[in-house]
């Protein structure tokens, strides 16, 4: 059978779907299998359909596909929701003792396991999902010892007894299937001794922040950004930092601004509605030339939109949001590992150029757990660049003729030295009002132009000094060029294989920088067909590229709340290419 294993558990919110899924994902990853997870959840705590899906293989996996091999169904709805993805060799694990009569689709094998009774035998009904995991191990011929390790990790803090009970629950599930079913589709998934870690984008951002020396985080809970805050809570403290849960986003960004001005590396994270609230202060951050990382984990909008659904609709807001004209950088990681790397980079950029950096992620990245080699989170490679900071000893060089420090000194590269509060001789004022080099309010026409130019010159300097690169996949000489940003990269990389199978060669460029961004004019000109893929309706990134390259581009957009799947994306691209052929 296929090396790929596509497994899912589904039920009602509150059924422990997430933690069960995570336990199994960790077991697979510890067994050296690559894992890619996705979650389907509704915006409510109890009730409502929820599912946790795992795709797993001995090769790298970067996308979900429309195929399920083993489904643990705690409700009939779980089966109904996934019926399209079931195939002839699919197995559905369900509990016939439960009140519903499971309707198993034709051709699919139903495995009826008394989950609740067996769990009670092991010490408590609450472990019924673990019984199902044991059953899944038997069906997939997956060594249950890997599951044991994962259960230990999960329950160790709650005592030896609980760990043992859970292991027992899994055994009972395994044995039940072994004894009662002998004619099941044959799965036998390999394990490897590869070293892998399993984490999601929010966790990667949190980890990147700590690694980059971020010490102050203030935020207000919002899906799907809250995990960043929850990750940092308790961990950042170990490095002398803190997390403050602010009363709202207005407060969150202002606290972070205060901490940044005091010299800390500071960050806040939120989602679209929170970015709206932060926008006024965003202008202050830029005008006062304060280094700050503002993370927007996008979800579906506008307004409260679909809080638990995927979308890349905030690009324009991060790029243009705020009154007046405000220089900022917009960096958008394309993979979970990049969430880590780009967070580190965002802090360096913010401090080197003393401006706000939007770190734009999205729900798909935030909730996807994915396996990586630990080297992709290379702590030794991290270099911290605090930019131009002045101390007691060299402050004299930066004082005016009246010994006043000039925080907005009109430096040739646009970046003036900064003095952290507490530095002798550096006392100065900064303001959101237009100001002169001393930081004092001015409406003088020349001063105004000078400061606007100074702030913009930082961008010009950065455009020259930094690599605003892209990543490239597929066939470099192909006639068809696909460009995307953000979390679409994984699905697109896998879609390349599907397209190749259909004889379509594609060059694929994945762009992690929105502003500044690489100039793709040559690449666009070299291609016959250019398609821009993004999870929004209007094609915000495509608009930008059209503006840059002065070329009409084709678009593949998805905005139903669900991320691209590799096979589906390949079909969409094919359809877009064929649309051209018929006049």
């Amino acid at each position: 059978m296929a090396e790929d294993l596509n497994w899912a558990i589904g039920g009602e919110a509150g059924d422990g779907i997430d933690s069960t899924g995570k336990i199994f994902a960790q077991a697979l990853s510890r067994a050296g299998r690559h894992v890619f997870t996705s979650k389907d959840f509704a915006s409510r705590i109890r009730g409502g359909y929820t599912a946790y899906k795992i795709r797993s293989s001995t090769d790298r996996v970067q996308s979900v596909v429309d195929r399920l091999d083993i489904l643990v169904a705690l409700t009939q709805r779980t089966i109904d929701e996934n019926v399209e993805e079931l195939h002839d060799d699919s197995v559905v694990i369900y509990d016939g003792e439960r009140s519903w009569d499971a309707e198993i689709p034709e051709g699919v094998t139903g495995v009826d396991v008394p989950l609740k009774s067996l769990a009670e035998d092991a010490g408590g009904a609450i472990m019924r999902n673990v019984v199902a995991l044991g059953a899944a191990c038997q069906i997939a011929d997956f060594p249950i010892e890997n599951l044991d390790e994962s259960l230990e990790k999960r329950f160790a803090s709650k005592g030896e007894k609980l760990v043992e009970n859970n292991k027992q629950a899994a055994r009972l599930g395994q044995e039940y299937v072994e004894e009662n079913y002998d004619d099941l589709p044959e799965y036998s998934i390999d394990t490897t001794d590869e070293d892998l870690v399993l984490l999601n984008g929010d966790e990667a951002i949190g980890m990147g922040a700590i690694a980059a020396g971020c010490r102050f985080y203030s935020g207000y809970p919002i899906t799907p950004a809250t995990d960043v805050m929850e990750y940092l809570t308790g961990r950042i403290d170990q490095y002398g930092g803190t997390v403050v849960q602010a009363e709202d986003e207005l407060s969150a960004i202002n606290m972070a601004l205060g901490a940044a001005r005091a010299g800390a590396r500071a960050m806040t994270a939120t989602s679209g509605p929170g970015i709206d609230l932060m926008t006024e202060t965003f202008g202050l951050v830029a005008t006062s030339e304060t280094p700050l990382v503002i993370c927007d984990v996008m979800r579906s909008g506008p307004s409260t939109g679909m809080p638990t659904k995927q979308e890349q609709g905030d690009l324009n807001m991060t790029l243009y949001g705020g009154h007046g004209e405000v220089p900022r950088f917009v960096v958008a990681p394309t993979t979970v590992a990049e969430c880590f790397q780009k967070t580190v980079e965002a802090f360096n950029l913010a401090e080197k150029y003393q401006l706000p950096v939007y770190l734009v992620s999205d729900l798909a990245l935030a909730v996807t757990e994915q396996t990586f080699k630990p080297e992709e989170f290379d702590m030794d490679a991290i270099e911290i660049d605090r930019g131009k900071v002045v101390d007691e000893d060299d402050i004299d060089q930066y004082l005016d003729e009246q010994d006043r420090f000039q925080p907005h000194y009109d430096a040739p590269d646009g970046v003036s030295p900064r003095a952290f509060p507490g530095t002798d001789g550096g006392a100065h004022m900064s303001t959101g009002l237009e100001h002169n080099e001393l930081g004092r309010r001015t409406e003088d026409t020349d001063e105004r132009v000078k400061q606007v130019d100074k702030r913009n010159r930082k961008v010009e300097t950065a455009e020259q000094e930094e690599d605003w690169d892209y990543r490239e996949f597929g066939d470099e000489d192909a006639d068809t060029l696909v460009i995307s940003w953000g979390s679409n990269e994984g699905a697109m990389v896998e879609a390349l294989d599907f397209l190749e199978d259909d004889g379509i060669d594609v060059r694929f460029i994945s762009v992690p920088y929105i502003f500044p961004r690489p100039d793709l004019t040559e690449e666009v000109e070299a291609a016959e067909e250019v398609i821009v893929v993004e999870c929004n309706e209007q094609g915000q990134f495509a608009d930008l590229l059209e503006h840059d390259t002065l070329t009409r581009l084709k678009r593949v957009n998805k905005y139903n709340g669900v991320r691209f799947k590799a096979d589906e994306l390949a079909d969409d691209i094919k359809a877009e290419l064929e649309a051209e052929v018929t006049p």
Partner: protein, 287 residues
């Protein structure tokens, strides 16, 4: 260094553009004196302000300062203080800035109890936008936007603070320079959030809450038999609301500031050149 510091060291070379006679002059002078008295110097002081005539204070003082957006100075001060506990942080604003647009932050700053000082220049009017009703304007106070008065009771900032768990609640009058300075000094010395509502008359737009009015009606708590550590007594005085008190109305002597409760004593501006030494442990957690 503190012994050499005089309050004039906190003055910037910029002349205030406040109207001659504005109460904010006295409020600011008292703040500068209190800072000098408590042994601070401009290089260890951070002033945050919002928007309004009051908010301009950072411009006229010499220290590290941020003049931010309307109503949000308290969160800025919170971030500054938590990131560097060695700094003396003062937040200043107006009654509109603090009790209207920033009211939410006010309540939460009070209950967060970060060790900083909040001075509100309460002129019971919007000065900078030229004379509209503010949250502390009287019910029948006629302004350009309330020709027949706001017809709603004014907020009682002292009561808000007490209800939110305030650990230092005081009021002063900007033209009583000595008392005002003393009171701000006590607020600075308080371990936690020191809140001072300062009557700071607007001579241009408020002809009701004038110097004469305050001079005639102010009651100094020092002249009354008031024990500021007695919360019940403070509550009574605050809720009666029929007198304009000056002095420390309530002080919790057992106040534990936010940083102490959260074990925060590091200056967060100091970080290593690379990732922390044990950073690989963060990755290993994900095995």
């Amino acid at each position: 260094m503190s012994s050499e510091i005089r309050f004039t060291d906190f003055k910037s070379d910029k002349q205030p553009t406040w109207c001659p006679g504005c109460g904010d002059f006295g409020t600011m002078n008292g703040m500068m004196k209190a800072l000098a008295e408590t042994g601070n110097d401009p290089d260890n002081t951070f002033i945050c302000a919002g928007i309004g005539c009051s908010g301009k204070i950072g411009t006229y003082m010499h220290s590290y300062a941020l003049h931010g957006v309307h109503g949000r100075a308290l969160p800025v001060g919170t971030g500054v203080k938590l990131a560097n506990p060695d700094l003396e942080v003062m937040v200043a604003g107006g009654d509109g800035d603090g009790y209207s647009i920033g009211a939410g932050h006010f309540i939460h700053a009070v209950r967060r109890n970060v060790d900083m000082t909040y001075v509100v220049m309460d002129n019971r009017i919007y000065g900078l936008t030229k004379g509209q009703a503010s949250p502390t304007s009287r019910e029948d106070f006629e302004t350009s936007t309330t020709p027949e008065g706001p017809k709603q009771p004014p907020v009682n900032p002292l009561a808000l603070s007490l209800a939110a768990g305030g650990t230092f609640i005081a009021q002063s009058f900007s033209s009583d320079s000595q008392r005002h300075t003393e009171i701000v000094q006590k607020a600075i010395e308080h371990d936690g959030f020191g809140f001072v509502n300062v009557y700071s008359p607007c001579v241009t737009f408020n002809d009701v809450d004038t110097y004469d009015y305050f001079r005639d009606s102010i009651v100094d708590l020092a002249d009354e038999d008031h024990d500021p550590t007695d919360r019940e007594a403070a509550k009574k005085k605050i809720l009666e609301g029929d007198k304009e008190y000056q002095g420390v109305i309530y002080q919790d002597e057992n106040s534990v500031p936010y940083s102490d409760l959260h074990g925060l004593d590091a200056n967060m501006s100091e970080i290593p050149d690379g990732a922390p030494e044990d950073a690989m442990d963060l990755v290993r957690e994900f095995y």
